[in-house]
Symmetry: C2
DNA sequence: CTTGTTGATTGATGTTTATCAAGAGGCCAA
DNA sequence: TTGGCCTCTTGATAAACATCAATCAACAAG
């Protein structure tokens, strides 16, 4: 494994607190793998043997029931995933699939669990990471249960705008098909929602989105810090271990 | 505080791993309070200074946006809540309100955070608890995004039946008004759903529910271990630290 | 007993969302 | 270039869900 990749892992809050030797122990049995787009890394119900770390590319976490499918999160580097299942040694509740060619580091779950028992700082870091993930899910449920489709889209656009620097125009990071699944609607309905949101000063041009009248859009979206996590274009790797961290909200590739 | 209450706290997975002295330290600054029904313990956005432990009664965790309200979970004894906010020293994302007269133990969040740093076993227990909570939320989102209202009700009824011993008839644990909020629908719609589910062999009589033809109801509900957590009428306090623990799924009053 | 309150139910109606179907445009490989 | 495939879009229709209004039963307070 390239040392640059190791450094990126090391800079994650989870691993930055570990001693060098423990880090070596945990990563010794690890391997880095490259996957093409569309690869299923994990299917819901599978036993989970590894903690995954997305170093490059993109991963969708999804779930299925009764021939319906939905997306729970889209991950960008650098993110860990299925930490909760690793901690509990439980089966996965979500499936994971690459959406682009991706570099993924796989760490032995067993080794991580052992390391937690020996290193309080690591165990605390895991607890903090899980807390951040938990709060991200609380936000997601509130978003889903309290808002309608158009409102979810409006808030999504505002969040994207902030995360991409706050400029008037930005680019949708995924296919609209996938976005629809994230937002909990059908692709057809997302199309109509995009058409409807034009009335609020949003201009769509393929993947390019321009928010012409932010004030008008905000009056529709009513963004709320208790639901939307706008705070993530921070440049520093980690301000404090305080900040809420949820997969989809992870620090962008730091370099 | 009564020693019986302390014992109940001690038997929680979170606290059973602590040494006696550490447990004393953490609980020394704690106080037990009795609240009448309908008391707001915490409003979303509030700073969180305490870890709460519900010893008796019931608590609703809810959230609000734009004059709409929804229930994220209903807790029964013995349950802890807002652990994630305590770990991150963050503001609450949910409100907490008693739904009955309740006994609630409040532990200093500060003390708990300090204890985590000193006791690996505690930090690991917190990580496991949070993992369980996280997975509970994953289940909740899947339930919400993948199923329709009638399906959610059907699965709720099956879950209640199992948790109450599996008999043909059982009692709804809350007002229907609250149940509707948990299931993500209006009270009116829940009423209609109850009427509709009669076709599947479910007889409603006030709060009494009889599932006359379980097989028929299951064909509608299609319960799935990756969404529904049926496994909780266990008598033992804790089988292993393995079992998934989510507030609403907490061990019932042990005595 | 009467009154007021609250939760539950039912009906009528409108909105939101899903489904089915069709077509436009881009992209890749033969 | 052509044909096939995919995404996105649009329209027509149906199902699901919310809202508004009214009624009823249960219950507590006067």
């Amino acid at each position: 494994m390239r040392s640059a990749d190791l450094d990126r892992v090391r800079s994650l809050p989870l691993f930055s607190v570990m001693s060098d030797e423990l880090f070596k122990t945990v990563t010794s049995g690890a391997f880095l793998q490259k996957f093409p787009a569309g690869t299923t890394l994990l299917t819901e119900g599978d036993a989970v043997d590894f903690l995954y770390v997305l170093l490059d590319g993109g991963v969708e976490l999804g779930a299925t029931w009764n021939d319906k499918e939905t997306t729970l999160a889209v991950l960008r580097p650098v993110s860990t995933f299925i930490l909760a299942a690793v901690v509990l040694e439980a089966d996965a509740l979500m499936s994971a699939q690459t959406i682009e060619r991706s570099d993924i580091l796989m760490l032995s779950g067993e080794a991580l669990r052992r390391a937690m028992k020996e290193d309080t700082a690591l165990a605390c870091a895991v607890a903090q990471e899980l807390s951040g993930c938990y709060r991200g899910l609380v936000r997601a449920i509130k978003n889903q249960k309290l808002r309608g489709g158009l409102e979810r889209l409006a808030n999504y656009l505002i969040t994207q705008k902030v995360r991409q620097g706050g400029g008037e125009t930005f680019t949708l990071p995924h296919e609209k098909r996938l976005l629809a699944s994230v937002l909990g609607m059908t692709p057809e309905n997302l199309s109509r929602a995009f058409a409807a949101i034009a009335d609020y000063g949003v201009v769509i041009n393929g993947p390019q989105v321009t928010i012409a009248r932010p004030a008008v859009l905000e009056r529709l979206a009513k963004p709320d810090p208790l639901i939307d996590n706008h705070t993530l274009p921070t440049t520093a790797p980690i301000g404090k271990a305080q900040r809420e961290r949820w997969p989809t909200a992870q620090t962008r590739s730091p370099s």
